[in-house]
């Protein structure tokens, strides 16, 4: 017969750096409940509400001209904003990570700035700078007939602002870790600058670049606050998918509710795909992504 005190001591010996099993079980249960209530159920309810009047009603959303125009505009905005910020991210990472000059840390802080600005303020700064009542806005409108605010260019600009740091902040830490040895070797062997970038640098950072572009795209397609301020919400013209969701949602007809949640389900599906690719990248290429990953 074993001594109960001794076996208890044995169990403790096995894992002196973990908690007793009831504590572990309680914490795991708490985590699962919190994640289910706070994250999974809200995701689920989008799909349930979309299918509330049957799948036919949900699908009829995508025959509505407003919804189709909103989807088109969202794709257009992402197609402009994401490449712009991708090129910027690569250029900024090259300048900051491959050279040593004073003020690099400050420059990184400035690049991260859009993350700490409220989306509504992001929209507001462009309205104040380029609105039709401002000198620049009036000049663009009268001399060139270009309307920026309450028009598509403004929607694109606001989206570029809120997604500004995504690519740069993935590339900079990684390229700083990688140093300049590979590039210096390529240049010494006679490669041109572009060849060095294309054949040496880019393959080294491709997964981190994809990671940044993925997050940038998700935010670009889902941005609400900044775009809401700047778009003027002209149906079929300056309304993106998130704004169209709001317009449907405010109609309070049962069918409009279904339409709101059907469009929302498309964006939720996009978010799920983004999360899946992101998790896969983190799992498969953890060593080739930046070492630290703080919040966005």
């Amino acid at each position: 017969m074993s001594d109960p005190d001794l076996s208890a001591a044995d169990a403790a010996q096995l894992s002196p750096t973990t908690e007793a099993w009831p504590v572990r079980a309680a914490l795991i249960a708490l985590t699962i409940v919190v994640v289910a209530v706070l994250l999974v159920v809200p995701l689920l309810v989008v799909f349930v509400q979309a299918l509330g009047l049957g799948i036919g009603a949900a699908l009829s959303t995508f025959r509505d001209a407003d919804a189709v125009a909103a989807i088109g505009l969202t794709l257009l905005v992402a197609a402009v904003a994401v490449p712009c910020n991708m090129i910027f991210g690569i250029a900024a990472a090259w300048a900051i990570a491959k050279y040593r000059f004073p003020g690099r840390a400050f420059l990184i802080t400035l690049i991260d700035l859009p993350f700490s600005v409220s989306p509504v303020v992001a929209g507001l700064v462009y309205v104040l700078l380029l609105g039709p009542f401002t000198p620049i806005g009036a000049w663009l409108l009268e001399d060139y007939g270009v309307r920026v605010i309450f028009a598509v260019p403004g929607v694109v600009l606001a989206t570029i602002f809120v997604t500004f740091p995504f690519v740069a902040r993935e590339l900079i830490p990684l390229m700083q870790d990688q140093g300049t040895g590979d590039e210096e070797a390529a240049i010494s062997l006679g490669a041109s600058g572009w060849q060095t970038f294309w054949y040496v640098t880019l393959p080294n950072v491709k997964w981190a670049l994809l990671y940044g572009v993925l997050l940038c795209n998700a935010r670009a397609m889902g941005e609400f606050g900044a775009v809401a301020v700047i778009s003027g919400k002209l149906r079929g013209e300056t309304v993106t998918m998130p704004l169209q969701i709001e317009l449907y949602y405010q109609e309070f007809r049962a069918m409009a509710q279904v339409s709101a949640f059907s469009l929302a389900a498309v964006l939720a599906g996009l978010a799920l795909v983004t999360l899946a690719i992101k998790s896969w990248l983190e799992w498969r290429y953890a060593d080739q992504l930046a070492a630290t990953r703080a919040g966005h």
Binding site: L30, T31, L39, L128
Partner: protein, 279 residues
């Protein structure tokens, strides 16, 4: 040519092009527009600025935005640290799924989160129904706003605490256990102190995001003046009324607060690097 160099010499080409483009694009998209906001605010004389930032509607929105954000960030610090702990230390069914889904608030558009949370917490909703018999309403009250802010802030804490916990040296804990420390003493005196900078950073990020949040809040807030009106919404109203200077003044106050938070995060990280050798 003997001159002081801006940057250290390098054989890599392209500094002028990439640095120039970086500064140009940064100025065009971010710096000049934000500067324009400050200029617009300075068009106001002090008396009108004071009138805007001491008006009862502004003060009510300020209290609500910062109060709800503070409570949400505090909740997220506790729950987020626990979740990070469970994800790093325990192996259980669906751990990878939980780990992946934590980032949902980053990936899910805020408007989608907003209508989803609202439909859950209205009195007829899946969760609202549980509270309605007791006369508790959640949607269209500050509690609803708090729930939305908890939703969008949670991943910030988990994702800042998690990597630090992963790198944590288990031998230190073993040493504490060997020296006879009970588990809770080890946690309180050995594990938590080095985690503190990450927890504070997570708190600041979660709080900063909550103060500026718009999309996920306005649907569930109900937007009743002086009761459930948040600061960003007030900016939207001033814009719609073409009160541009007033909108700029509110935005300037919000921006200054986010700069202070950013500064606090940087100070925490500098301190933490000196004290613990990591961020």
């Amino acid at each position: 040519m003997a001159r002081i160099r801006f940057r250290q010499p390098s054989i890599l080409p392209g500094f002028g092009l990439t640095f120039g483009f970086t500064i140009f694009y940064l100025s065009l998209i971010v710096l000049i527009p934000i500067l324009g906001l400050f200029v617009k605010t300075f068009e106001l004389d002090w008396a009108s600025f004071e009138r805007i930032v001491t008006g009862p509607r502004f003060l009510a929105a300020l209290r609500l935005s910062f109060g709800a954000s503070l409570l949400a960030a505090l909740f997220n610090v506790v729950i987020g640290t626990l979740i990070a702990w469970v994800l790093v230390r325990y192996r259980f069914f669906a751990r990878r799924f939980v780990d992946a889904i934590i980032d949902l608030p980053f990936a899910l558009p805020t408007a989608v989160a907003g209508i989803a949370l609202t439909s859950l917490y209205v009195p007829q909703g899946w969760f609202g129904r549980l509270f309605a018999p007791y006369g508790i309403t959640i949607a269209y009250t500050p509690v609803g706003i708090w729930i939305a802010l908890v939703f969008i802030g949670l991943p910030f804490v988990v994702r800042t605490v998690q990597p630090v916990l992963e790198d944590f040296n288990r031998e230190v804990e073993e040493a504490a256990a060997t020296l006879g420390a009970p588990r809770r003493t080890t946690i309180a005196r050995v594990i938590l102190p080095p985690l503190l900078p990450a927890i504070l950073t997570g708190f600041s990020l979660s709080f900063a995001r909550a103060v500026g949040e718009y999309g996920s809040v306005i649907f569930i807030a109900g937007n009743i003046p002086r009761q459930t009106e948040i600061l960003p919404l007030l900016i939207v109203f001033r814009l719609e009324e073409r009160e541009y200077a007033a909108a700029a003044a509110i935005a300037t106050v919000m921006l200054l607060v986010s700069f202070l938070i950013l500064l606090a995060v940087n100070l925490i990280q500098t301190w933490s690097t000196r004290r613990f050798g990591h961020v």
